[in-house]
Every structure is written in C-alpha cells, then in structure tokens.
Symmetry: C2
Subunit: 207 residues, 2 copies
C-alpha cells in the first residue's frame, strides 16, 4: 500500500501501524474512521497524546504511571503503608485496584526476570524497591503478585532473597480455581494447588 | 477499568478506545506500548494527527483525500482524462492504484446507496459527479467499481440512469475467479458469472 494520495494521511497511517498488532490495513481503517468524525475529535486525540508525551512521569516511589512525581496511591493518607504489593506492570495495578480488595501500596517492577528475553534484575526496579524498604520501616508485608510462570517463580525467589535482610512477611497471591469455573475444565496444576492450599470452610456468600 | 493512576494516561486510553474494534484493554496496551518507546515517538504520533486535523482536505474534483484543493491524481498531466472510475471510498482508490493497471481519473462516492443504513443518493457525491461531467466533455467512459452487493447493484443502476444524458460508455469491472484460486472452492454465483463472461483464450503468462 504505497499509493496514498495524501502525505498527511500516509504519515498518520504509518504512526498507527507502528503499534503492536496493527497492520497497514487496520491503520488505514482507523485513520479513515477518524477523518469521518468531527474534526475536533482528531484534535483532541492529538492533544491527549501530546499531554501524555510532555507530562506523564513514573512515580518515584512505586514506579506506577503518574501525573505528579509521587502518584495518587503513594501520596494518599488512606492507604495502608504496612504492605507493598509487587507487580509486573501498570495493568496489574489497575486490575488489583478494580477489585477494591487491596488498600496497601504497590511496587511496579517493569517486567520479570527472563534470561531468555535478556531481562535481568538490573533491568527491573528491584534496586529501587530495596532502597524504598531501607528508607521506610513501616513496611511489614511484601505481597508478590507475579505470573505463575518459570520467570515469575524465579523473580519471586530473587525478591525473597533480596528482601530477607528487612525481616518482612513475604506472601504470594492465592492460586486456584476461578470463581464460577467448573472443576472439570481446570488444568491439573491449578486444581492440584487448589487442593493443597485449601482453606477452612466459612459459610459466606461470595460477593 | 476505572482506576487509572494518571488522568493523562486515562484520556489517551479513552481516545484510543473510541476507535472501531479497539476496546479499553487493547487501548491501554497500545498506550503503554507508546510510553515504553522513545518519548519522541509519542510526540511524532501527536504531530501526525494534528497535521491531519489541520490540513487534510477532500479533492474538489474527485473527493479523494488530499493535501491540496485538487489531488495529485486529478492534477497530474499524465492521467487519462477520458475515463473516470467510480469507487465507494478512498481505500478502493489505493487498492486500484496499487495494481498499476489504471491511469484514468477517479470519483469517490463516499459510500453506496443503502436504504437500510439510511444512505440515499443525496448523502453521496453523485451530484458532484454530474456537475463534473457537465463541466468536462473530455470524459468518454465511466467505470463502475462498486461492491457486488444489492446496494452496489442499486448504486450502479442509479449512476447509469443519472449519467445517461452525457452519452458515456458505462462499464463495470470484471468479476470472476481470482487468479490462483481453485475452481472447487469458488461460490456458484462467481463461477457462473465467470463462465457467462468468458474471454477468448490468448496465450500469455499472467504477470
């Protein structure tokens, strides 16, 4: 697709097609869709990206995306400062926040240790986490909420060893059969773990 | 997904998720991808959209997207001004240009007549096409390259009737089995048409 009648159209299509999972044809469809909208829509889109480009930062405490040097979660007086939940990326923070079940702080690693992809501990914010624990003695518990993959397990173990000097309680999030899932369709490993880590029956309806 | 730690992130995600086929999760993935890139990348993306917003126009002749009041195709001295190919939208112009087989002019309708979607002749650039034919007596042939659907057929017939006063040759693009396709997988209608509209055998290899 080289014969664009408009260079402006072409450069917008090229920008879209640089995004993951978006090919040239989809990019063209998206740009033509934008052109069919109210012109203000494109201006607003452009402005949102410009503001993001200029102003967004990473929180100096937890490395979450933030509009200010310290993010809303880290600076909130209502958050429980005794626990830090360690996650791989920003999407995990959003997912956990949406549950409404966690009121502690976070630490965003920016990835997990993966020698296959050339990602070592130095590429992640692990040093910053140690620094944070050194400066702050309110923290009592570290909750590891990483993927249950070999890389996740490796990272869990590395974090466990690195944070040992701080004498924290280190926990991992529970793994088991998802609520609403049928047992027969669960994989053996998950089902096996859910039996090993069974909890005492308490008569409550799931909210 | 309401708990964004950054309003800037949130508005960028909202802009992306307004695009067709892009949900909130995909939009977030795309914006996080942009943030992981060089910051200049976002600036360039924003600028491409801003330029598109400010400067892109529709060609006053053929209604193709253009950077100038009359598009490159309509203003080119190398194009054959005796034929106009009528297409539904800009993507069709790009597709035909990429074949390298057509050197005439275009007319972009901006859709096809579809009473089900509430699109009538007045919503398309049919009036502008008549005006164009009235002003220009170089045109000898009108090539209709619309979809082979009921709506496409209706639009073909409407265009045929409306342009009758101009005494043009009106043709439609050939329909048949695609090059490289196997007969057994072709639908009956296409196969049937390809037999009716068979052409004399000429010994050339397909380029």
């Amino acid at each position: 697709m080289e014969h664009f009648s408009s260079n402006l159209l072409q450069s917008a299509v090229e920008e879209f097609s640089r995004l993951p999972g978006i090919g040239k044809k989809t990019a063209l469809r998206l740009v033509l869709h934008l052109l069919k909208q109210d012109r203000e829509e494109i201006g607003r889109f452009s402005e949102a990206l410009l503001q993001l480009h200029k102003k967004v930062v990473y929180c100096s405490e937890c490395h979450n995306i933030s509009d200010s040097p310290v993010c809303d979660i880290c600076s909130s007086p209502r958050r429980d400062r005794s626990m830090i939940c360690v996650v791989e990326d920003i999407r995990d923070v959003i997912a956990i926040e949406n549950t409404g079940q966690y009121h502690g702080l976070y630490h965003v690693l920016g990835g997990i240790i993966s020698p296959m992809d050339g990602i070592g501990p130095a590429d992640l914010t692990i040093g910053a986490l140690e620094e944070r624990l050194r400066k702050n003695n309110q923290v009592e518990e570290l909750i590891l909420a990483l993927s249950t993959t070999m890389e996740g397990d490796t990272t869990n173990f590395y974090l466990y060893r690195k944070t040992k000097p701080f004498n924290l309680k280190v926990s991992v999030i529970a793994r088991g059969i998802a609520i609403g899932d049928e047992l027969e369709y669960a994989d053996e490993i998950t089902l096996g773990r859910s039996i090993i880590h069974r909890t005492e029956y308490v008569n409550t309806t799931i909210k």
